[in-house]
């Protein structure tokens, strides 16, 4: 390996001028080959497991395979997927989950971060606490919620509600409460990471800005509105995008908490529908069509969002 050494630019100047052009070209070729030798492992993996599947997804979605013979079928898979009774329901559920997760899960971590940032004591402990659920394997955390969501009065949530003289709920077994239950579980399990990211960006806000705000007589809420939020808007806007993209891929929560489809399809998400089509109905092509639709929807959303979102240079 060592004889393929890249000579440093500094050493190039004098002796190289005397060398033949042929030698220089050969060395350049060697350098390039070395570079590609270092790249090859990753490039092969990206090729097989990232770039090729992207193309394959769309090719597959226009094909069907019967007894080992693959034929082009035009938009047929899309039509099949479209006419599936669960299709509209799955998109509605997924969007509902996304919106609800934004209402509950978007502002909450930010305000928790703002609150925690004010404390001068127990900082490490509080950070540790909020991040703890993130370290649970998702299945563990979700079985914990399944246990707590027990629709009878043996469940801890219903027990707490009952002691507080509030109406109890059937949680994931009731159609209306399925999505809120999934959002509560998902927010509790995932919020920690977002809180820590906000905390890091809150610490970059110069203290003088708050001082200036105070001289202008701003109270806590106006400080948050006029200093904290504008100063963290880039990260707030990025987390919004990441959260929407993540929640639109809802899958584990309905699978474990609501057996996949919930009460009469109240939990079915787009990714679950895709999974069901591929592995219960053995229709990989239809599943690819669904996956492709979700991919396009999220790509278009991300593209439009990044165009409209605040940019760094507007400071």
């Amino acid at each position: 390996m060592t004889d393929l050494a890249v000579l440093p630019p500094v050493a190039d100047v004098a002796p190289r001028a005397a060398r033949s052009r042929h030698g220089a070209m050969r060395r350049k070729l060697f350098d390039n080959l070395t570079g590609h030798a270092f790249l090859i492992g990753a490039v092969v993996c990206f090729g097989f497991f990232s770039w090729y599947p992207m193309v394959r997804e769309f090719i597959m979605s226009f094909q069907q395979t019967h007894r080992g013979v693959t034929t082009w079928v035009g938009w047929k898979n899309y039509e099949n997927v479209w006419h599936d009774a669960a299709f509209v329901q799955a998109w509605k559920n997924t969007l509902y989950f996304t919106v609800l997760a934004l209402v509950v899960g978007y502002a909450l971590p930010f305000f928790i971060a703002v609150l925690l940032n004010e404390f001068r004591h127990a900082r490490g402990y509080l950070r540790f606490l909020v991040y703890l659920p993130v370290m649970l394997p998702p299945a563990s955390g979700l079985f914990l919620f399944k246990y707590a969501y027990d629709p009878s009065d043996a469940g801890i949530f219903n027990y707490i509600l009952k002691t507080l003289h509030l109406p109890t709920s059937e949680w994931v077994q009731s159609q209306a409460m399925t999505m809120p239950s999934l959002v509560i579980a998902s927010t509790w399990l995932n919020m920690g990471g977002t809180i820590l990211i906000y905390l890091a960006s809150l610490q970059n806000i110069p203290g003088e800005l708050y001082e200036a705000g105070e001289l202008d007589g701003a109270g806590i809420w106006r400080q948050i509105w006029h200093v904290t939020i504008p100063q963290t808007r880039l990260i707030l806007s990025l987390m919004f995008l990441l959260q929407v993209v993540a929640t639109m891929q809802l899958f584990v929560e309905p699978l474990i908490l609501a057996n996949g489809d919930g009460n009469q399809g109240s939990a079915t998400s787009v990714v679950y529908l895709m999974y069901q089509r591929a592995f219960y109905e053995h229709d990989l092509n239809g599943a690819a069509a669904l996956g492709g639709m979700l991919l396009i929807v999220l790509l278009v959303f991300s593209a439009v969002y990044t165009r409209l979102a605040p940019k760094q240079e507007t400071d």
């Binding site: 050493a11 270092f38 597959m60 402990y125 998702p138 246990y147 960006s201 203290g207 993209v245 891929q249």
Partner: protein, 295 residues
């Protein structure tokens, strides 16, 4: 303590210093500590004690806050019925194997893209970074089809660790993190090494890697937790009884088991990650913001 204990935040130090301010601060702090402890440790307590209850006690109305007759039966049942030892071993092999492949291939690639810069390097970098925009779950179907019959070589990877190890290498975020770090290493350092006759491999091993320890640590933590927590992909590509991950296994084997056994299994599955977190707490939390998520 924390880095920023000196800088001021919304509430001014002057107001905190006053008697009333102090009282409110301490009251609020104690309230928050109590509320957060209940909200985040309470569920874990509920889980651990749930596993200590008998099948009858766990279904009892009203639920008991303390197990009446705590015993480890459910934990023992969970360990044997769900084959947790095997699941744990599988997960360890998948996670550390994936990390090893990422450390070799992603580090080499990022080094090539940052320092060796061969022709078409930038085009390849662009294609790699473009995959960051593609949400992972939307591609699982064609990825699954690829894994059951790898094109050209016709390799059936299902139920083998390779189905987790190799796709893990295609991680654009790793390449991004590493390349950005390597870019910050001054070229003179590498030129000096080259004058001493070191080739690219030796430069990478003896110059670049030792200074890159922090970023390699961050990458390792991210990589291990990603494989450990992944659900959909291992559900698809490790369908065998003896090849499942811990995460998927407790889901797949939970059917027909009693509530207390499932909860005990969930507790056992959580122990390794919680221990990992207790030991590497600071690094894990610091790694979270290392992605330069500052916009």
């Amino acid at each position: 303590m924390a880095v920023s204990s000196g800088t001021r935040t919304i509430i001014s130090p002057a107001r905190l210093g006053r008697k009333r301010g102090k009282r409110i601060y301490w009251g609020l702090l104690i309230l928050v500590i109590l509320a957060f402890s209940v909200a985040f440790l309470g569920p874990l307590y509920w889980m651990v004690t749930g596993g200590l209850k008998t099948g009858r006690e766990i279904a009892q109305v009203p639920p008991t806050l303390f197990p009446q007759d705590p015993n480890l039966t459910a934990y023992k049942d969970a360990w044997t019925d769900l084959n947790l030892g095997q699941l744990l071993l599988n997960t360890v092999i998948y996670a550390f194997g994936a990390l090893a492949f990422q450390l070799v291939f992603d580090v080499a690639a990022a080094y090539a893209l940052s320092k060796l810069r061969p022709v078409l390097g930038n085009a390849i970098l662009g294609l790699i970074l473009a995959t960051l925009m593609v949400p992972a779950t939307t591609l699982v179907i064609p990825q699954y089809v690829t894994v059951i019959d790898l094109p050209i070589v016709h390799w059936h990877m299902l139920d083998s660790p390779w189905a987790i190890w190799l796709p893990a290498v295609a991680n654009a975020f790793n390449i991004f993190l590493l390349k950005r770090f390597f870019d910050s290493i001054p070229q003179e350092l590498l030129s000096a090494a080259a004058v001493d006759g070191a080739g690219p491999l030796r430069t990478l091993l003896w110059i670049i890697l030792p200074i890159s320890r922090p970023i390699l640590g961050v990458m390792s933590i991210l990589s291990l937790t990603a494989v450990w927590k992944d659900f959909l992909w291992p559900l698809l590509v490790e369908p065998g009884e003896n090849t499942k991950t811990l995460n998927v296994g407790i889901y797949a084997f939970s059917k027909g088991l009693t509530q207390n056994t499932i909860i005990a299994a969930a507790v056992i599955a959580a122990v390794p990650t919680i221990v990992f977190f207790l030991f590497l707490q600071r690094n894990i939390m610091a790694g979270l913001t290392a992605g330069g998520l500052k916009g």
